[in-house]
Amino acid sequence: MADRLLNTLKDERTRLGLTQAELAERIEVSRKTINTIENGVFVPSTILALKLAQALDRPVEQLFRLDGD
């Protein structure tokens, strides 16, 4: 079975009171990239995942995990 990547991006983003557009602006990507990551449609690269973790002030392992972990 293919591995699935789960994330808490939406929860962490709303914790900080950010919209998708605001978070996108912080890490210089498009809003649709944030949208597709949150919906589990798009798997970000390591670099992008680290940028998200930095922007949300969370360890990357707290933002992303494999299904079944």
Partner: protein
């Protein structure tokens, strides 16, 4: 209040997704109206068919670069970020399969109907480019929704 870079990028991304659909549809429709033109060339026909090559090349350029070439470097980087690059790769992969499928279909058809090389190549290229553009448009639109 002036628009933020994110807002401009959002608007440009929507415009690009819609443009991809329109460009692909127009390209297909134009081919349908000119398939009978594949005759021994005189000068006006040569110009007409050469214009098609330029058109096809411009659509490929649009697909590969994402357009918006006169925008700032920062905005272009946002417009061509990771998810867009992923969509582009998937679109071009489907365009490849469309090209192969069209070529195989025409190969079989050539046993039943005479087909000039020029016509067959135009059909194959049209399918390849149109499929890629439409797929890109669909992927981008889906990603832009649900925001």
């Amino acid at each position: 209040m002036p628009a933020t870079t994110a807002e401009i990028a959002e608007k440009a991304a929507w415009g690009r997704a819609r443009a991809a659909t329109v460009l692909a549809s127009t390209f297909i429709a134009a081919q349908a109206g000119s398939f009978g033109d594949d005759l021994p060339l005189n000068r006006p026909q040569a110009l007409h068919l050469s214009a098609w090559v330029v058109w096809a090349a411009m659509l490929m350029f649009f697909l590969v670069t994402g357009g918006n070439i006169f925008r700032s470097k920062r905005l272009r980087a946002i417009l061509n970020d990771e998810s867009t690059q992923d969509h582009r790769r998937r679109a071009m992969a489907l365009g490849f399969w469309g090209t192969i499928g069209a070529a195989m279909f025409l190969y079989v058809a050539s046993f039943y109907e005479p087909l000039s090389a020029r016509l067959a190549l135009r059909l194959v290229i049209t399918v390849g480019i149109a499929v890629a553009l439409l797929r890109f448009s669909v992927l981008e639109r889906k990603a832009l929704k649900n925001g």
